[in-house]
Amino acid sequence: MEEVSKHTFVLQQLRELFLAMGKATLFNLRFFRELFFPPTEWRETLKQCYLMGWKSLPLVSITGFIMGLVLTLQSRPTLVEFGAESWLPGMVGTSLIREIAPVVTALICAGKISSGIGAELGSMKVTEQIDAMEVSAVNPFKYLVVTRIVATTLMVPILVLFADLVGILGGFAGISIKGDISLISYATKVIESLDFIDIIPATIKSCFFGYFIGMIGCYQGFNASNGTESVGRAANSAVVIASLSIFIIDMLAVQITDLII
């Protein structure tokens, strides 16, 4: 008897998982369909780019600077031990651009942007604002979802590039604490150690991070069930799922980059 109920429970869970995957797939497909059909909500898209990009700059700047500084300070003793201190600028630049800045910036955006979208849309759903939009013959999916996903897909890579730059400056600050190197020779060493190929996969990866950050936030908010409790749940699950997705995408991106390059 107990075995039968366990079996039923597992089947129920599997059914719910597949249903959720199906709903998420349809949501993604609807995004691409709405994206390419007019009218385009340019004004709202620009507003979201400003809110998500410009308003996230202070947080990304502080985090990027600290990342560069700490990475330099932590790596320096080991490199000194092997007499490879001169490799420090190149190592800091490569690590930041290839891996640390994209992942950490995306995680910050998951916490700040994805949860914000989840809470905002969830609250609009619960208070019938999305229904009000639909009743007034405005497509809420296009106005609320498409604009936000486009904004995160465009803004996260730009924030990552900015974090790269600020992180490299943080690295310079770290080296300057215990060493004597000019900014120009530091920058030259960083640039010499980098290939163009280092930036491209990281930027493409960041676009995917941005897409999933927006998509997950919108999906959770747009599908919030009625009740104020669901607003908190939408924001919370947006952060958790977006953060997990970032690591999965990162893992896949590394494998694909290794295969191609």
Binding site: E120, S123, M124, T127, E128, Q129, D131, A132, M133, E134, V135, S136, A137, V138
Partner: protein, 253 residues
């Protein structure tokens, strides 16, 4: 069972026939609802909580997909329309939500201008501003033009929401519990405003309410939903004098 206490049948502007909607196999809310609303007529829909009143009007504007039946608005069936036709018809229907549903991130002026900017691109900014002021004046809240919805009281939010629907000059108004959560005086003000809208715009209305004072004041006809169908309909006086015990329950003080 459907008992008609009065029969008035001019050409209906809204004609609902056999509307059915269920949420799961054991929760059939509407079981073949029939309702007609004539031009300029105001029908109050009464019923117990959970009887399907809101579901019925949400089916009318396509917010909830009906299982079967037909909802003819201006002689066109809303349930078989293409999305574009549905949107065109929605522009002729104003919907006042129970929660007012003002856009929290926008000022009152932006709330009112939002549908207008989208559906009347030929209007200049000054024409839009004038329409916003005119709509706000009609609900007596011109002073609130730059306020955020969070700065408004419940009654003010309802009036602003009414102004937002009026700005598109709808021919049909659907009110979902317009006076719920308001004090007696504010409820009466909202009822008076609904009457004024009906007179000024010659609009037809369906009003869902539990407020009998509002029902008496605003409705030409009262229909009571029971077991997923209209159990009884007629004028307020006719329905309130019904001998049916379950109808009497609605009118006991």
């Amino acid at each position: 069972m459907q008992t008609e206490l009065s029969h008035k049948d001019p050409t209906p502007i809204i004609s609902i026939q056999g509307l059915a909607k269920s949420f799961g196999p054991e929760n059939q809310v509407l079981k073949g609802l029939n309702l007609k609303v004539a031009k300029g007529e105001s029908v109050v829909l009464l019923g117990r909580s959970g009887s399907g009143k809101s579901v019925a009007i949400k089916c009318m504007v396509g917010l909830i997909a009906a299982d079967s039946g037909s909802i003819k608005v201006f002689d066109k069936d809303m349930l078989v329309m293409s999305p574009q036709q549905l949107n065109e018809t929605r522009l002729k229907i104003g919907f006042l939500f129970q929660s007012a549903a003002l856009y929290d991130s926008m000022t009152v002026a932006e709330n009112l201008g939002f549908p207008l900017r989208r559906h009347s691109p030929e209007l200049s900014e000054s024409e839009i501003d004038n329409s916003i002021k005119e709509a706000l004046e009609s609900v007596g809240l011109l002073d609130a033009i730059q306020k955020m919805p969070s700065d408004l009281s419940g009654g003010m939010r309802k009036r602003i929401a009414m102004a937002r629907t009026l700005i598109l000059k709808p021919e049909i108004m659907l009110y979902d519990e317009p006076t719920t959560g308001l004090d007696t005086i504010t409820s009466r003000e909202i009822s008076d405003l609904m009457l004024k809208i009906q007179e000024d715009h010659q609009s037809s209305s369906i009003i869902i309410t539990h407020d009998l004072a509002c029902a008496k004041r605003t409705g030409n006809k009262v229909a009571i939903l029971k077991d997923g169908v209209i159990g009884v309909e007629g004028t307020y006086e006719e329905v309130s004098k019904s001998n049916l015990p379950w109808v009497q329950d609605f009118f006991i003080d």
